[in-house]
Amino acid sequence: MAGSGTAPLRDADDVLLRVEHLVCEHPAGRGRKVHAVSDVSFDIARRETLGLVGETGCGKSTTARAVLQLPRPTSGSVRYAGAELVGMPKPELRRIRPSMQIILQDPLSSLNPRRRIRDIVGAPLRAWRRPESQVEEKVEWALDAVGLDVAQVGDRRPHSFSGGQAQRICIARALVLEPQLLVCDEPVSALDVSVQAQVLNLLQDMKEQLGLTMLFISHDLAVISHVSDRVAVMYLGKLCEIGDAQSIYDSPAHPYTAALLDSVPEPDPDVPLHAPPMSSVLPSPIDPPAGCRFSTRCPMATEVCTASEPPMRQVAPGHHVACHFPLVPVPDPASLTTATPP
């Protein structure tokens, strides 16, 4: 299938994760397939945070899990620190896993209700047969790093903690193996606003302290804007736009990105309510529209849009968009620099 292209991929040495032509499909009964992710390519440099944003059904969570091979994608390439993960034999993949960890959306569901906190946080270390003394030491360090006292929380069970605290425990568990890549799948969506800020600050602190590289998934544009260096926008299994966070928020090139930004309610009573003009009929990932998948809802769609899928093109250094008629005009290729700034 004609993909959106790999134009945004960078050649730099410090790229930690490189995803090319990722496809995730699963059966939907009666011979049909859900095209959850259809040919997505992106990369993340070391110590960079890529924010993956999109609405329900866009495939962002599926992408996150596929990167970690949980489960393996249908096809495509995922290169982590140079090693190809897709097709890697299981034992070898297992050995790489400590380096790539994940934080999930529902913190209480991510913790085994029948185990104690110290056992939960220590489990990854025990899985790798680290000596007990080291396990205890690391558990204490990890819990302390997230602001919890192992003496007070160690012997308790997950249900006695609030959402925010449970998420901190999940973060502690993820950090205990000292990963290089941290995938966060909607880590604050289930939390109260006042607690969201705490957890987001914590993630930022951990990223700086430990030099983490992050893939941060959320449907909340405001949250994404706070944590991301670069942002990728997904719609119905495809990548619409990818680029530096500032560039995307200041001048979105894809109509969908613009609509998303437009839809975020401004906490200012003087700004009147408005909804971007878009059809409220949502297409299904089982039977996605032909050509550009956003064409059925795009206010600017033409025949060209339904006829063929737009390739990824550069509109500014470090900013690519897949649209036939982007809001930011595609400059003359001759005037573009080939190297994108880190």
């Binding site: 607690v195 600050n201 930022q204 998303l260 309610p265 700004v271």
Partner: protein, 359 residues
């Protein structure tokens, strides 16, 4: 048109009595929107259920107060008359359209059932009205939708159907309880826009419950901020966003991540929403407040007036302290918290009379 006075609701749960709402009061006129804003445990949902007397009877330990709606106190009405009020005068849109809609009944039938509930409407007229309502809520191809089941519609469309049902009785008051929380942001924008338009067209009053200040900014004329069962600030939308006085409101506004605010670190509110089985003594927000003093721990502030229609309950409010004129009390005004208020969470022992313990 609606006057709520002194609503106090205590509920019993498996683990004790929860003082879900304490002494909540507000007024609402026709055509105006009041937003009830708060986080978990704030009591906002229980308050709306109390107003409508829709609480499960077995859980209610105490339900005081008056709800004067169109001149009649709903708290004194017998159940039969109350049902009339629910159907015709008050409409409810709740958070999850899948639980408000019967999954095994077609949309059209559910809508017509509501339209014909009081009798006197023929099937054909009901169908017409149903199509009319679906058009009003901007559902494309309304005739086709009548024959569909709820699961065949997207979340946004389902919520529109719920709104249509709520509007069927031509209510004077619409209560929307987190109607867009479960929806995508683009759909949310459309539903909010729709609600605003419907309200203007029908001249309804609206109570909009949300945890998201951004969502209510565009819709609400007045905002009531709730914390731990109490209304801690009540103001016009303008007054709140540009000059919140109560420290929790201020902190809530500051903590919400916003596009365009280029700070890398968010302002946080330390600790977490209180345990409603035994909320903190004195001002319920004091364990998490950077400006708390001994006075805040000792006694609960009353709602005081600050400007036209702006009420708040705080001993040390933001902005000028013109309300807190006299500092002649023997109580020291230095913060008496045991440790500096950090980003560390307060461990979840219910804060009773002790100082918050750091983690």
């Amino acid at each position: 048109m609606l006057r709520v006075e002194g609503i106090t609701t205590h509920l019993t749960t498996g683990r004790g009595v929860v003082r879900a709402v304490e002494d909540a009061s507000f007024e609402l006129e026709a055509g105006r929107t009041l937003a009830l804003v708060g986080e978990s445990g704030s009591g906002k949902t229980v308050l709306t259920r109390s107003i409508m007397r829709l609480l499960p009877a077995s859980s209610v330990v105490r339900a005081d107060g008056h709800v004067v709606f169109g001149g009649v106190d709903l708290m004194t009405l017998p159940p039969a008359q109350l049902r009339h009020v629910w159907g015709d005068r008050i409409g409810l849109v709740s958070q999850n359209p899948m639980t408000a809609l019967n999954p095994v009944v077609r949309v059209g039938r559910q809508l017509c059932e509501v339209i014909r509930k009081d009798g006197g409407v023929s099937a054909r007229a009901a169908r017409q009205r149903a199509i009319e309502l679906l058009t009003q809520v901007e559902i494309p191809e309304p005739e086709r939708r009548l024959g569909q089941y709820p699961h065949q519609l997207s979340g946004g469309l389902r919520q529109r159907v719920t709104i249509a049902i709520a509007l069927a009785g031509r209510p004077d008051l619409l209560i929307a309880d987190e109607p867009t929380t479960a929806l995508d942001v683009t759909v949310q924008a459309q539903i909010l826009s729709l609600l605003g338009r419907l309200q203007r067209d029908h001249g309804m009053a609206m109570i909009f419950v949300s945890h998201d200040l951004g969502v209510v900014a565009g819709l609400a004329d007045e905002i009531a901020v709730m914390y731990a069962g109490r209304i801690v600030e009540r103001a016009s939308s303008h007054q709140l966003f540009h000059g919140a006085r109560m420290r929790y409101s201020e902190a809530l506004l500051a903590a919400a991540p916003r596009i365009g605010r280029a700070t890398s670190r968010l302002t946080t509110i330390p600790g977490r929403p209180p345990d409603m089985l035994s909320p903190p003594r004195g001002c319920r927000f004091h364990p998490r407040c950077a400006h708390a003093t001994e006075r805040c721990r000792a006694s609960e502030p009353e709602l005081v007036l600050a400007g036209e229609g702006h009420r708040f309950a705080c001993w040390h409010p933001a902005g000028d302290d013109s309300v807190e004129g006299h500092h002649d009390e023997s109580v020291l005004d230095e913060p008496v918290l045991d440790e500096p208020v950090l980003d560390e969470p307060v461990l979840d022992e219910p804060v009773l009379d002790e100082a918050p313990r750091g983690g």
